[in-house]
């Protein structure tokens, strides 16, 4: 599985889709090759991470990144996984 720390929605879409279904532009090594791998963004995995580790590594990031963007990221990732 993949875990992303990048926050640009466009890049997330392309990468998550490529790892699951193959390169959407059909160019490159993964054109037409579906690896079927699931992608998550680290923001989605808060409940999985021990609280003290999350606080130390990610609490600052949660402040930094606009709430609307965090939501957008989580929505995109869920969509691509087909959850």
């Amino acid at each position: 599985m993949l875990v992303f720390g990048l926050n640009e929605p466009g890049n997330l879409r392309i990468m998550a889709t490529t790892f699951k279904d193959g390169d959407p532009s059909y160019a490159g090594a993964l054109g037409g090759i579906a690896l079927g791998l699931k992608s998550y963004h680290i923001f989605e995995l808060k409940d999985e991470i021990p609280a003290e580790v999350w606080t130390r590594e990610m609490a600052f990031k949660e402040l930094e990144v606009e709430d609307a963007l965090i939501e957008q990221i989580c929505t995109i990732m869920r969509e691509i996984r087909g959850d």
């Binding site: 599985m1 875990v3 992303f4 720390g5 990048l6 998550y40 999985e48 991470i49 580790v53 999350w54």
Partner: protein
């Protein structure tokens, strides 16, 4: 069912977003194994 525990993870970080090292610390603490890690920086 844990999403991370016991799984092999490839990490793609971004310097001005979330760095690979931060993601690594998190997923290791959740019991995952990191098999690939990169942090991009194109500035």
């Amino acid at each position: 069912m844990s999403i991370l525990k016991g799984h092999k993870v490839a990490i793609f970080g971004e310097r001005d977003d979330v760095a690979g090292s931060a993601v690594r610390s998190c997923v290791l603490a959740a019991g995952a194994e990191v098999v690939y890690e990169t942090t991009s920086c194109f500035v």
